[in-house]
């Protein structure tokens, strides 16, 4: 499923805020879940959300005015892929908001 999160921060500032926000986000994942992340280049990030034995890989690329990327939910979670995308969007939005 594709993700598109607009912002007006420019690439560099957006990356800085995400770098700062990721540890906080990982610490605030609800019980039974986890988040790992790895930069794949200057502006490409891969993450893995884990929850109740399920793993959801997410890839994000930071562009000047938006984050674009995709996530892949396991078949068992097919019906909740919209919620997972919303979870990623909300979490990324919160990181981008914080200066």
């Amino acid at each position: 499923m594709d993700i598109n999160i607009p912002h007006s921060l420019g690439r560099v500032e957006a990356k800085r805020r995400i770098e700062e926000g990721l540890p906080k986000l990982a610490a605030h994942i609800p019980g039974g879940g986890g988040l790992t992340s790895q930069w794949q280049g200057d502006y490409a990030l891969t993450m893995e959300i884990t929850a109740l034995g399920s793993r959801i890989p997410v890839s994000l690329t930071i562009e000047e005015d938006r984050l674009i990327g995709s996530l892949e939910v396991p078949l068992l979670m097919k019906m909740m892929q919209g919620q997972v995308a919303e979870f990623v969007k909300t979490s990324a939005g919160k990181m981008l908001e914080k200066a």
């Binding site: 609800p30 879940g33 109740l52 034995g53 068992l76 909740m80 919620q83």
Partner: protein
């Protein structure tokens, strides 16, 4: 009071969420049936069942069917309900499109069947038998017979029956005596008596198409000499409409314990004109196509009644004021608390609820298998689905009907003395549920089918279609986390099932009575593990929904509570069944006949 609102939310859960990873989904033939469309179908079915079938359930039981000079009258309101039912296309919901059916997935159809059975199981038998007959004819009849009979049967204008049992032979069909003599023009003259024929005669349809097991003159003895014949009540005329009366009639109806609005007939065939369906002497194979479809359907009857019994009991437990809560008055302003405050009443209610949700979840998986075995494009998936359906058919039939009857009995218990009175409505559930444990092969026969035919088939391949997903789920979810207690319990029960399988394989090969003695315990153990697997998966999905944020928090939280109840209060029964299997046949066979 008979109370029923279709559990649509849970139905949507088992249909759209629970089994998405089973490999049976994504069938191109069902692409057009989107979630929105199937939701709409379920909602409409719920309305028909609640508004049309439920109001004539209790009255139909009180009035029953009447027999007068070969004519059978169904109770008041049944003809009108049937007309409305077929007019809106419910009879052809899952039937083949090429003959006028709507071709919906069985996964949807079985949920609709559950609603029909919950609101009026007697009524369900009329379209239910037709559906089974259509399945057999579609698979084995000549193109000519299919073209002439299937469209009218699928539309519900004509109905179908299955005629196996004779006064002297039920389970042992090898003793069957009805004969069929070739006339020379491709037709046969069928002569004999049949009993216990559901919908053998009724006033709902303009023609009745009987599928009859009979012997040809040169037939070998035993089950290998049985052929299947199509015998219509009225012979179709040149235009395909009901013409001359055929030599088949009802000679009476049975006066039964339950399903009183279903006409169970004694049938007499006197040189009745019929046509062969399938190959000579291979009628049992064709009839078993019908029978297998019916067996899953009978299981759904148990589930439907179980759900209706649960809802009716919940209504009463909230309404009936008696005594005070053990932890202090919950409603001090009232003369007494409602009985739902009492732990034992809650245990009864939750047992019913867990049975229903467990069976619905397991049934939905099997229904997806039914779709995949027919329509999957990948031969490997088709084979796996066929294996799974073959393995689980006796489990669905026996487990669901046993638990449906248990639920009905528990509902009577919740009502207390009032439950024993006809007007309460719940004693009817228990009477109606009882037959489902008997017909289409008794539950004992289902257990023998499971251990005798299914376990060893293809070197255990059928069993692997169930064992593999359960084992993979346990492996995937083992370790730390909120589900660990549940996964450990599932692993323990699954281990008991694996050990039991090995025990039966080892002892049963040397001594068939060992397998027979273990059969019903084994079937229940497999059913418990199947339900536990579904509840564990449900818990995982519910947990994920709550984790990622759902607008339907209440549903998922309650699902986890029901699953927890199942694991803590019902799954421990698995150990008892395991121990009984391990004990072997000794205690059963030690008795000489004269010691009974």
């Amino acid at each position: 009071m008979q109370v029923y609102t279709a559990p649509l939310r849970d139905m949507r859960f088992v249909l759209n969420e629970l089994h998405q990873d089973d490999g049976f989904g994504g069938l191109p033939v069902h692409e057009e049936f989107t979630t929105d469309l199937t939701d709409a179908v379920l909602e409409e079915a719920a309305k028909v069942c609640q508004d049309v079938l439920l109001p004539i359930n209790l009255s139909g039981d009180a009035e029953g069917c009447r027999y007068e000079n070969g004519v059978v009258r169904t109770p008041k309101g049944f003809k009108e309900a049937y007309d409305q039912f077929v007019e809106n296309g419910w009879g052809g919901l899952v039937m083949p499109v090429e003959y006028g059916g709507q071709g919906l997935p069985e996964a949807v159809g079985k949920l609709v069947e559950e609603m029909i059975c919950a609101t009026n199981v007697s009524f369900s038998l009329y379209p239910g038998l037709t559906a089974g007959a259509v399945t057999a004819l579609a698979a084995y009849a000549s193109d000519e017979l299919k073209a002439l009979y299937l469209p009218k049967m699928i539309s519900g204008e004509w109905s179908g029956t299955m005629n196996l049992t004779e006064p002297h032979c039920g389970t042992d069909l090898g003793m069957l005596r009805t004969k069929a003599d070739p006339v020379g023009d491709g037709s046969y003259k069928v002569t004999g008596s049949k009993i216990f024929i559901s919908a053998g005669e009724q006033d709902l349809t303009s023609n009745i198409i009987h599928l009859v097991l009979a012997r040809l003159p040169d037939a070998p003895k035993g089950v290998k000499g049985i052929s299947l014949f199509l015998v219509p009540k009225f012979l179709p005329d040149a235009d395909g409409n009901p013409g001359a009366r055929n030599g088949v009639r009802a000679s009476g109806i049975e006066h039964k314990m339950g399903i009183k609005a279903s006409a169970t007939c004694q049938m007499q065939f006197d040189d009745a004109v019929g046509w062969l369906v399938g190959q000579p002497h291979r009628g049992l194979e064709a009839m078993f196509t019908m029978m297998n479809a019916e067996r899953v359907g009978v299981g759904i009857q148990g589930l439907g009644i179980g759900e209706a019994a649960y809802q009716s009991a919940v209504w009463y437990a909230k309404d009936r004021l008696q005594g005070r809560s053990l932890s202090g008055a919950k409603y001090p302003d009232k003369a007494a608390d409602p009985i739902i405050v009492h732990p034992d009443v809650r245990k009864n209610l939750l047992t019913m609820r867990a049975y229903n949700e467990g069976c619905r979840a397991l049934g939905a998986w099997v229904a997806r298998g039914l779709d995949a075995e027919r329509h999957a494009t990948d031969p490997e998936v088709r084979q796996r689905a066929e294996d799974f359906v073959a393995l689980m058919t006796p489990v669905v039939k026996a487990l669901f009907t046993d638990l449906g009857h248990d639920s009905a009995s528990l509902a009577v218990q919740v009502y207390g003395g009032h439950g024993y009175i006809h007007e309460s409505g719940v004693e009817q559930y228990q009477r109606d549920a009882r037959i489902a444990m008997i017909y289409e092969g008794t539950n004992g026969i289902q257990a023998l089918d499971l251990v005798g035919r299914k376990l060893g088939a293809h070197m255990g391949r059928l069993l692997r279609s169930f064992f593999h997903p359960v084992s993979a789920f346990i492996e995937e979810n083992k370790g730390e986390g909120p589900m660990q207690k549940m996964i450990e319990a599932l692993e323990k029960a699954f281990g008991a099932l694996q050990l039991s399988t090995a025990t039966i394989a080892e002892k049963g090969l040397k001594d068939a009575e060992e397998a027979g003695a273990a059969a019903s315990d084994y079937l229940r153990l497999l059913g418990l593990v199947g339900m536990a697997y579904c509840f564990a998966k449900s818990t995982k999905i519910a947990g994920l929904q709550l984790f990622f944020g759902t607008p339907d928090k209440a549903f998922y939280e309650t699902k986890i509570k029901t699953a927890t109840f199942f694991f803590e209060k019902i799954l421990p029964q698995a150990t008892a069944h395991f121990l009984a299997i391990k004990a072997g046949k000794g205690a059963l066979m030690a008795f000489a006949e004269d010691e009974f």
